[in-house]
Symmetry: C2
Subunit: 473 residues, 2 copies
């Protein structure tokens, strides 16, 4: 049986094949229509009842097919809006800190590239964004904002937000922050871009980085004419003792939770970084991208607390809330505030309404409640991941799981590439560790996967995990 279906003004070839019959056939046909662009993003699909009537099949079959595609992210279903073709493509390469397509690499993506499941690290579970609480905060913020808050204002960001952040960061991360020294920016990447310009203007030519990290950050530094020099990596984390010979004016680190290896920087290495900065006047850039998500012990305090005059603490709402907010912050040494503010200027300011809303969200305690709930949810996922792997792939060693939204799965030597390829064939977006290794790293390459367990929505997590288990050796 093959039916041609023109309800949406397109032909949909419905061929029930294999064990799943009509449901699978309809799912495949719809997925194909979205993938090829015949069903445009945002298009509203007919109700399951009316499509079932059109096709002469059971309503449940249509409802099941819709549910499958929603789970896979091809369709979205929201009360009042019906079922629609998803707009905006999930970032298959979305990494931590920020997802910055490198300069010169056009960032547009097509539905064709879209995986069925996404276990690439870097994006939190967007279905858990606290829409209601956020809107409530927005209402309060807008009701009480003075009129001139809507004007051009301070390029450092709204004072309400800087004040709320100073309190929050002190309390939750041990950051020594004065609102005057905070610069609100459009996520981590904009902060790094600003620092790149300031460092270059100060005569810095080289920035030390970690052996493992994000090429988008290294590219940002390179675009600002700074050379990146990787430090070695071992069991204690990045070897900051090597800073002494790196000839660098700054170092970019992820001390609380190395990205992507997942370890906390050893206290000796923390001390070495701070010593180096104090001794040489170098600057430590602390990327604290997911410092709030720690499961098994007390959070590792921010490095900035040790040496606020030598460390820039960079945080973001991209992991704790959503990247789409484009809100991040830098806590700057006082001596850098004016330069960074000037480098940012008004031209790259963030919208004040979201800033005021986040300030209210933090001040009202909603941020703490949200982070607590998210931490529980991600921890459960991590636990199911560890359990499933213990049963299904006992050879695979799981590391870096004391915190964050991703895990590192060590693979038998020489298998990384084939596993990633097998995953791609299955429609599973999965990154190998090689993606995150600096090309000039002296640390020996390891075969491993970097599995982002934060990304799938709750209802898709089990099938995503199943899909992962199938491709492991």
């Amino acid at each position: 049986m093959a039916e041609s279906w023109a309800t949406l003004g397109i032909d949909l070839h419905l061929e029930p094949t294999g064990p799943h019959g009509l449901r699978r056939g309809l799912t495949d046909a719809l997925r194909d229509a979205v993938r090829t662009g015949r069903l445009a993003p945002g298009t509203r699909l007919p109700s399951s009842r009316s499509l079932a009537a059109d096709l002469g099949i059971a309503r449940n079959t249509v409802a099941d097919a819709y549910a499958d595609l929603v789970a896979e992210g091809w369709l979205t279903a929201r009360q009042g809006s019906g079922t629609r073709v998803a707009t905006g493509m999930a970032s298959p390469a979305g990494p931590a800190g920020a997802a910055v397509p490198a300069v010169g690499r056009p960032p547009r993506r097509r539905a064709v590239d879209r995986p069925t499941h996404n276990l690439a690290p870097g994006t939190p579970d967007l279905s858990a964004f606290p829409r209601t609480a956020w809107l409530k905060a927005a209402r309060r913020a807008l009701a009480t904002a003075p009129n001139d808050a809507l004007g051009y204002g301070d390029p450092r960001g709204r004072p309400e937000l800087r004040t709320a952040l100073a309190g929050y960061l002190a309390r939750s991360r041990g950051v020594r922050a004065d609102p005057e020294n905070i610069l609100v920016c459009a996520g981590f990447a904009q902060g790094l871009k600003i620092l790149t310009a300031v460092l270059r203007a100060r005569g810095v030519h080289t920035v030390a980085v970690e052996s493992y990290g994000l090429f988008v950050h290294w590219d940002l530094l390179a675009a600002g004419r700074l050379t990146t020099r990787p430090l070695p990596y071992d069991d204690l984390g990045t070897d900051t003792r090597a800073l002494a010979d790196a000839g660098a004016g700054a170092v970019l680190l992820t001390p609380a939770h190395q990205f992507p290896m997942g370890t906390a920087l050893h206290p000796d290495r923390r001390a070495a970084a701070v010593d180096w900065a104090r001794r040489t006047g170098g600057l430590v850039l602390e990327d604290d991208y997911d410092g709030e998500f720690r499961y098994d012990r007390q959070p590792v305090g921010a490095l900035q607390g040790l040496a606020p005059d030598h460390v820039v603490h960079l945080g973001t709402a991209s992991k704790s809330l959503a990247p789409g907010l484009r809100l991040g912050w830098m806590v700057l040494p006082p001596s850098l505030v004016d330069e960074c503010t000037a480098a940012k200027g008004h031209s790259d300011s963030c919208g004040v309404l979201d800033q005021l809303t986040l300030a209210e969200f933090i001040a009202s305690g909603a941020y703490d409640r949200h982070v607590r709930a998210a931490r529980l949810r991600y921890r459960r996922r991590r636990d199911t991941l560890v359990t499933a792997l213990a049963v299904r792939a006992p050879e695979v060693q799981v590391t870096g799981i004391a915190a964050g939204l991703h895990a590192v799965l060590r693979l038998p030597s020489g298998t990384e590439q084939s596993v990633v390829q097998a995953a791609a064939w299955q429609g599973l977006a999965l990154h190998g560790l090689a993606t995150y290794r600096h090309e000039h790293s002296v640390t020996a390459p390891l075969d491993a996967l970097v599995v982002g367990y934060g990304t799938p929505p709750d209802h898709a997590w089990t099938t995503a995990l199943e899909s992962l288990c199938r491709v492991l050796p």
Copy 2:
């Protein structure tokens, strides 16, 4: 009589002097406390009833003093929030298109600098921001947004907004826009910054500009290592015929409403600009900062409609809604889309929630309604301005008033500086035309004021106007 008042934990010296007695005394004392920082921004003042009781004066006197200070912008009063010390400083230099402090000029301002009345151009009446309608649109946008809208997404901006803008700009400004060619950015200045980088990368060294304009834009171009070369200005507007000899790869124009002179570019000059672009491959950057506010005849269509392959149309929500939104857009020739998108990257993206809200605001018709109402309100102000000047300062010629939020007041030769100074002494922020003249302009300097009548809230407009009349010759 002098009372020391410590209700707010500060000493307030209350000295009734002059004809206004206690009311003026209290107003002065409170203003002084805010100006010197003894009353911190955001501080809630006691109710007029309880303060009156504390001071042993009539409640109406306190209420009147509060009202004066609200009108002047020192205090804010909102239902449910009481009367508070205003936070955030109005930008005394806030200009059109965008307010970009030049690189190297630290943009922080203190309450001390704050004028009593602000007639500098560049900021719309922020008290008229449609808070309720905006919040309604935000609620709808957030309720229907697919989850992945909250992810990193397309650096060009949300498709919903680009689609809404394409329709709106075609309808209202005659722009030929495909959503694919629109780049959403954080206001005009960010757009110009992106274009500067792209032009420089394409080998452009010189950009022609108008004799009158904004130094912040010229500084942005200069920061991107582009030389600005001013074109002559005469009664037909900027003389674009001079482009032939300017050696420029691009020209920055305000065709619908020259900023700040207020004239529409003559059709011959429009044609000359387009011809030049077609002939040489040069690029026209059309700054359409307030194209929606035209009072006496049909809007002047966008130049972009004549030559979409040679003109970048730049618009902003800063004048029609509020600068604090930090939302602008560029309609790009197709050949520039990839380069500009790459230059922007994800790092400088705007928050998606405001983008989705603006899309909904436009799509629902709320934007049209708001602009219509604002146009009426500003037109009334313009009319009272013209009438008051005809009566109070008949020597002063008013020009540039067919559109926009500002007027140019021609002064007797040699008087501009002293009038601006007299205004400053009165606490009236007022800009002379000299502020807007390119240092290399060959056009003879004129004595004039650029009066932004959009900025004061409605209740302060009459006194601001009175204050203006007092300083005119």
